[in-house]
């Protein structure tokens, strides 16, 4: 895997985050949340810095990152599309919505379009079951979707 050059500004920011948590290893998950906020994802390089700062092994950090579905080691698209696969959305046809997004964006779940605009992911329940089936683009929630509405959503961001 090619090594990624991280910007020094962001690395400084990350170090400051670790410091703000007193380099406590018990704060690892909080640090990871902040780190993902800074970098958008958690590549190996970021995990190494965190391991050094909190004085834990890289394996421990990786173990935690890979355990929780909220953390990602791959960069997401500019507009991350997350399809809710909670039970309420599932029984109201979330699978068809996934298929349609796959078809329209021409990528699989967990992938990013070649222009880096969209990435596709599934998540479990955003708690907006009243609007099922639900899709998130970034932080914006789209509810009561039909497969036909997928094209319009993508068009909204494709500009």
């Amino acid at each position: 895997m090619a090594t990624i050059k991280l910007s020094t500004n962001k690395i400084d920011e990350l170090r400051a985050v670790c410091k703000s948590f007193n380099h406590e290893k018990g704060e690892l998950i909080n640090v990871l949340h902040k780190a993902q906020g800074i970098f958008g994802y958690l590549p190996a390089e970021v995990q190494e810095i965190i391991a050094r700062e909190l004085n834990v092994s890289v394996a421990h950090v990786y173990g935690v990152v890979s355990f929780y579905s909220f953390f990602t080691m791959l960069p997401k698209g500019e507009h991350p599309v997350s399809i809710c696969l909670g039970t309420a959305c599932y029984v109201r046809g979330a699978e068809k919505i996934i298929e349609e997004f796959k078809r329209v964006l021409n990528i699989g779940v967990g992938e990013t379009t070649s222009d880096g605009k969209f990435s596709l992911a599934c998540l479990r329940c955003v708690g907006a079951c009243g609007l099922a089936p639900v899709v998130l683009v970034g932080d914006k929630v789209y509810g009561r979707l039909s497969p036909e509405s997928v094209k319009d959503i993508v068009a909204e961001y494709a500009k």
């Binding site: 909080n30 029984v91 929630v141």
Partner: protein, 597 residues
């Protein structure tokens, strides 16, 4: 506080928020200001009203008018007509689906009639970002009463007498848990609020935190006083940004008022609360896993005993309760144990919040006394099945629960009855399914979830669930044998008996309950290679009935893979080798010519 003549309550829960309720709130405020009414009419963003199906909701007080599906553009009409001229905006009122009558008072709506709101008492009534409104509704009175008039033992006694059981799923008596933790000797103890609502389809904890965060803060402080803890921690999902924001605001306000921090209410008792974020792991709802996650580790559970009440967060005695459990506490202290124990059934006291979702008319959050039947919940409160279809099953308890059917509809809902029927209370998710849902596929869906969420520590759960999923997948593809069904059952029992934590011990429930209740359907998948719900793609074909086809070409035009051929005004045919079974033709055909075979 200023006195207002009228209040406009706008739902700002996640569901309505997603339907532009924020903009609606802004519009209402702007127009009220423009008209110079801001000293008389107050516009408040509140927590969830529960009736998410009809959101965004605006309630006008004091006349209790309940407007549904309000858009930002409706703001002007509500103000000019209702607020200024006193004429209700009829078109925004709820319409009774049976009588087509407009109903303006929510008390008369089927959805609210049978509800009793204790945990949700303030959701939809107060501005969750304003502590004064909570205090105006007797907020922090219970805490004051406990700290100044009662000993910890007396408070625990009330909790025990009330019969309140843990609302997170386990149903362990809350008072007993507090007592055990209070008796553990240690220099430091912790109160933890479990707000890691991972059960897909359940959103009561989120709604309570968004709509009434102070009730949880107050209860945690009371718990701290009882068990002798000065530190409280809320473990909350990072997926709930709105709830996190509201909780943070509430904690800051409570500190400002001396209701958190050093010397609460001028007594010698110190208590403060911090937040810890979850990161998307279902297993972290299990208390030992949750504690490991709070310590910054992988959220893997450990064997109990020792229970967290004895050895929890950093090996200190820790009392873990769920959000809804805490939300009940201040009311119990204020109104007394006898009052609470008078509601509900013999062994399950009080109320339970359920998240109604799936194929039901009134999706939303409801709170009913324990002992209400499934039929009342689904058909009276829930308004029956969507699109007039036939009720097939209801899944309670999420991925750990089971599917209940027609024959269970009149069972009074409580912890023990649900377990006896092969399901469980869980956190209160209730997903309704209709005749179009395939039960084998449902079981597979839940197992897919468990396989993904299994932490991998113990082999029955890690390997066993994977095998269950594989067998179910085989069945849905039409490759199953009758032995496979037996294998599913046997393996399920082994996993239940041997898995380490609650996740594994309950994960086969959806499989067992669907086999028990829908054995015919399993058999059909094996012997007839048929899925009666038409959901298992491998077991069905879309076919055009020649007599019904008028040759309108709608199906051919909408087929994404061009598998349909036929002349205009001639009979169309689907090429099965090309068809991807997406169902677009069925949806587009207006002449009932496309059928599933």
């Amino acid at each position: 506080m200023a006195k207002f003549k009228m209040h406009l309550l706008v739902c700002s829960g996640t569901g309505c928020h997603a339907s532009e309720s924020e903009l609606l709130l802004q519009n209402l405020k702007t127009i009220i200001n423009d008209k110079g009414l801001d000293t008389e009419v107050q516009v408040i963003g509140t927590g969830c009203f529960g009736f998410c199906e009809k959101g965004p909701i605006v309630k006008v007080m004091p006349d209790n008018t309940f407007y549904t599906q309000v858009t930002p553009n409706d703001a002007r009409e509500i103000i000019e007509e209702h607020v200024i001229k006193g004429r209700k905006v009829n078109r925004l009122l709820y319409v009774n689906p049976e009588t087509q009558e407009h109903i303006s008072d929510s008390k008369h709506m089927g959805f609210y009639k049978k509800q009793l709101r204790i945990a949700l008492r303030n959701c939809g009534f107060i501005d969750p970002e304003n502590i004064d409104e909570y205090i105006a509704r007797d907020g922090y009175e219970a805490l004051a009463k406990c700290l100044t008039e009662m000993t910890p033992e007396q408070v625990i006694e009330i909790m025990k007498k009330s019969g309140l059981r843990g609302r997170g799923g386990g149903g362990f008596p809350a008072g007993l848990k507090w007592e055990i933790t209070s008796k553990s000797v240690s220099d430091e103890k912790y109160v933890v609020c479990n707000a890691d609502e991972g059960d897909p389809g359940a959103f009561m904890d989120r709604s309570i935190l968004e709509g009434d965060p102070h009730s949880v803060i107050e209860a945690m402080a009371i718990c701290g006083y009882c068990i002798g803890a000065t530190n409280g921690l809320v473990y909350i999902r990072a997926e709930y940004p709105l709830a996190i924001d509201r909780l943070k605001i509430a904690i800051d306000q409570a500190r400002e008022y001396g209701l958190l921090g050093k010397g609460l209410l001028g007594t010698g008792f110190d208590f403060d609360i911090e937040l810890r974020y979850g990161a998307g792991a279902f297993v972290c709802g299990e208390e030992t896993a949750l504690i490991h996650s709070m310590e910054g580790k992988r959220g893997e559970p450990t064997m109990k005993p020792p229970f967290p009440s004895v050895s929890g967060y950093y090996e200190k005695p820790t009392n873990v309760n769920n959000v809804e459990t805490f939300a009940n506490v201040p009311v119990i202290i204020n109104k007394g144990a006898e009052w609470f124990a008078s509601i509900g059934t013999e062994k399950s006291k009080g109320t339970k919040v359920f998240a109604l979702a799936g194929k039901i008319n009134n999706v939303g959050l409801i709170e009913v006394p324990m002992g209400t039947t499934l039929r009342e919940v689904i058909f009276e409160i829930g308004g029956g099945i969507k699109d007039g279809k036939k009720f097939k099953a209801v899944q309670t308890g999420g991925p750990s629960g089971g599917c209940l059917t027609e024959k269970h509809l009149d069972t009074p809902i409580d912890y023990d009855n649900l377990v006896a029927s092969g399901s469980m209370m869980g956190s209160g998710g209730m997903i309704v399914m209709d005749e179009d849902d395939c039960m084998v596929s449902m079981a597979k869906f839940y197992l897919e979830f468990t396989v993904e969420e299994s932490c991998g520590k113990c082999s029955p759960c890690r390997i066993g669930n994977k095998r269950l999923h594989e067998i179910l997948d085989k069945l849905t593809k039409g490759n199953g044998t009758l032995e496979d069904i037996d294998r599913l059952k046997n393996l399920s029992y082994v996993i239940k008996d041997t898995a380490l934590c609650g996740l594994g011990q309950t994960s086969p429930n959806p499989v067992l309950s669907t086999i028990d209740n829908f054995y015919d359907e399993y058999i059909e998948h094996v012997t007839d290679k048929k899925c009666r719900a038409g959901q298992c793609k491998a077991l069905m074909q879309y076919v055009i009935i020649a007599e019904n086809c008028v040759g309108c070409t709608a199906c051919a035009r909408n087929c994404p893979v061009n598998s349909i051929t036929g002349e205009r005004k001639g009979v169309h045919v689907i090429n099965q080798a090309v068809c991807i079974k997406c169902g677009a033709c069925l949806e587009k055909c207006k002449f009932n010519a496309v059928v599933i075979k």
